[in-house]
Symmetry: C2
Subunit: 243 residues, 2 copies
């Protein structure tokens, strides 16, 4: 993603004015030897300088000075099922898009249907999360901001995702199994309790808490808006910097 | 990836000249009521118009007219082991990078070491190639050109990769098993013949030829340079168009 720095605009202003003023002086000298007939000269300027301005612009397209990329990053939401990852990630993503940033949104629910053979055993989940981490890193490397939300219950595959990325920001949805179970409108916890689902984080397998997440969301005591504001504030202060 | 069209530069030239000429006329009128003292006015112009030019530039940063993206695409090389995919894909990729295009290079050899659990059974290869196709499509969607080279012996997963992408260009390395076996400096075919490798395309499993590839490379009768030129020519004519 590209934007132009003020330095670039300053240099363009200097280079253009140099060309334009020399042109004016030469024109005035040719016509009178003095300084006169500004209207005539003004009219000549309209045509002569407009052409020069055009070629000046085309030349500047080839100069990279002062063109910069906004740093990209991977914003990775992790937490128990029904801890509110998806809603929060969607909200943050919308705010970044409103800021005209180039963002890709990745959710487990988007990726799994493409690869229906992916199971829920720890090995399969680790593999699924690692592949997602690889995808995030490839997008990030190419200047795309990635907002990803995966339960990603195992530390091993989250560490893999972190190591692949240049700028990994882990958001941990800090809450309890009890609170998630109460929030769960889809009945996933009930199915896990009844044995219909196996390997369900928080029920029959452990969700491994992140060791040093960049951001911890106190899910049970913050509204969605407050949580989103906290994250966007962090990003603007620490990551999304413009000269 | 962004570039600016000539229309954008023309409109910038018109808008700037409007501002600058009105400024000149007003200055001349204030100073003399006539047309005089071009040097004085010229000097004033240097300062006044340079500031105006600067703010004019900053304003134009907010206008999207005439800013365009170069279309991205997935260039997918498929063919038997040792058919020359990697060398040709590398050469084409280098030429695109020289043209200042944003390119990501994906090769099976880059991806497999990250996921050592990926095997060589038809199911595993199909899964591996589908995941690669998904990755290509995500990059392409975000404006990145992808140059991918995978044996990808099964039609099913190549079709999957094609369907995920907006602009899929399949390059088929057309050659024979015998010719590949002669070119094979790494001894992969020998290992497949001796039974050390199973599921080896061209030896114990069939390589399924593409049905309608966009580009067919006659590997045994073209040099690397000729093949690369053929592909780059196709891309410039059909895909990489600028206004």
């Amino acid at each position: 993603m590209q934007y132009e720095t003020k330095n670039r605009s300053i240099l363009k202003a200097i280079s253009w004015r140099t060309v334009a003023t020399i042109t004016t002086a030469v024109l005035v000298f040719i016509f009178t030897g003095q300084f006169a007939l500004a209207l005539t000269i003004g009219l000549l300027e309209v045509f002569a300088k407009m052409g020069l301005y055009f070629f000046h612009e085309r030349l500047w397209q080839k100069i990279s000075f002062g063109k910069k990329e906004i740093p990209s990053f991977v914003l990775w939401f992790t937490g128990l099922p029904a801890s509110g990852k998806k809603a929060l990630a969607d909200t943050v993503c919308q705010q970044l898009v409103q800021d005209k940033l180039k963002v890709e949104r990745l959710d487990s629910l988007d990726v799994r249907p493409l690869f229906p053979e992916t199971g829920f055993s720890p090995e399969e989940v680790n593999r699924h999360v690692k592949r997602a981490g690889h995808l995030c890193a490839m997008l990030e490397k190419n200047g795309i901001i990635v907002v990803a939300s995966f339960v990603s219950p195992y530390r091993q595959s989250r560490v893999f995702a972190r190591e692949r990325a240049a700028n990994f920001i882990e958001v941990y949805m800090n809450t309890t199994v009890t609170a998630c179970e109460q929030r769960d409108t889809k009945g996933h916890y009930a199915k896990a309790r009844s044995g219909e689902y196996q390997n369900f984080p928080g029920v029959d397998i452990e969700y491994e808490e992140p060791v040093n997440p960049e951001i911890v969301i106190d899910v049970d005591n913050l509204t969605l808006e407050e949580s989103a504001e906290l994250i966007v504030h962090y990003l603007k202060k620490k990551v999304i910097k413009r000269d």
